[in-house]
Amino acid sequence: MAHSVIVYGTASCPYCIRLKQFLAAKNVPYTLKEVDRDRTAFAEMKARSGQLSVPVVDIDGTLLVGFDPAALTRALGLE
């Protein structure tokens, strides 16, 4: 099943880069919202997640904070 995936990240964040590499390696398409350049996206991330940390990833409406390969694997049903 195709998942709806949104990545909130910054250009310089190494864990955001690892997250994007992970999704690309698993052939998971995603929408990228760069919160350091897009203040609307930043406000959206802050309001939705209650977090001031990146990356935040939205998988079908469920939010995960940080780059956690195990949690991503489970949430994307890749096991």
């Binding site: 690892r18 001031l52 940390s53």
Partner: protein, 300 residues
């Protein structure tokens, strides 16, 4: 199934150990929470031989690509909970299952040290962060404090000076440990340096609103929106049941990367080896795999 070698961790030490083990034709599995370890979270790496400059994620991707060439099983996203001796080998328990192996190389690296003050966990990722490179841009135009007066603290401060409205560096020591060139740059850039000063508490509501510090003049509350903790790191070794370690929790190894438990090797930043550098960790990983291969050879 009995593996010849199980490698815990896939940072520079673990990946290099795996490459050497594969070339030695050891029946090897790698189990790791992530690929690249702390190196993947580094920004500009300018001292890895062969690259004048490469980012941490790019270097980690290169390591991964090299490892994949050998086709070893790499169980990413799996955290090792326990390594214990089991007859003539080892039992390794993870959150998902168990493995048995003749030898183990522990290359689990380090994790950022916590301040251990009230408010730190409560406001984790809500103003308190351990990664200026990651979260720094979120504090554009805001007031921030950096706790830690070593090179990592001043590196964070210099990054933050470009975007934050104010930067205060706080350190508990009488003298700052950072290279004077970094301290001078931060001072020239407008950073306030507060030392010796002890952080007492981080305060806030939904997000951080301030940090309380005790100085020679008494208690001060600094109004800040961000607190960046840069006070070093600790070895991730608590899951290893036996094996001698030092007061810092680092596994004690000899020049062959052997611990005091036969068949249990360790490499990289989790050990007491001098200098925690990517290139050093790679070398240690290579040594550990060569020594483990010799050990397996003696068993059979």
């Amino acid at each position: 199934m009995m593996w010849d070698l199980l490698i815990v961790g896939a940072g520079p030490a673990g990946i290099t150990a795996a490459i050497y083990a594969a070339r030695k034709r050891l029946h090897t599995v790698v189990v790791s929470r992530d690929i690249g370890g702390q190196a993947a979270a580094s920004w500009d790496v300018e001292n890895y031989t062969g690259y004048q400059m490469i980012t941490g994620p790019e270097l980690a991707a290169k390591f991964k690509e090299h490892l994949e060439k050998f086709g070893l099983p790499v169980h990413e996203g799996e955290t090792v909970m326990r390594v214990a001796t089991d007859g003539s080998g080892f039992l390794v328990q993870t959150e998902r299952g168990e493995y048995r192996a003749r030898t183990v190389i522990v290359a689990s690296g380090r994790t950022p040290r916590r301040l251990g003050v009230p408010g730190e966990e409560e406001f984790r990722n809500r103003g308190v962060t351990w990664c200026a490179t990651c979260d720094g841009p979120l504090f554009a135009g805001q007031r921030v404090a950096v706790v830690g007066g070593g090179n990592a603290g001043f590196d964070a401060a210099l990054q933050l000076l470009k975007i934050a409205s104010s930067v205060t560096v706080i350190d508990v020591a009488e003298r700052l440990r950072a290279d004077p060139v970094m301290v001078e740059k931060a001072r020239a850039g407008g950073a306030e340096l507060l030392f010796p000063a002890t952080v007492k508490r981080i305060i806030g509501d939904q997000f951080v609103t301030g940090i309380e510090v005790v100085t020679a003049d008494g208690l001060r509350t600094l109004p800040v929106e961000g607190v960046f903790v840069e006070i070093g790191s600790t070895a991730v070794s608590d899951f290893v049941e036996k094996a001698a370690r030092n007061a810092a929790g680092e596994l004690l190894v000899n020049p062959r990367c052997e611990t005091d438990v036969p068949g249990l090797f360790a490499a990289g930043d989790v050990t007491d080896v001098f200098s925690k550098q990517i290139v050093v960790a790679c070398g240690e990983g290579a040594k550990a795999a060569i020594a483990a291969a010799e050990y397996v050879g003696r068993l059979s």
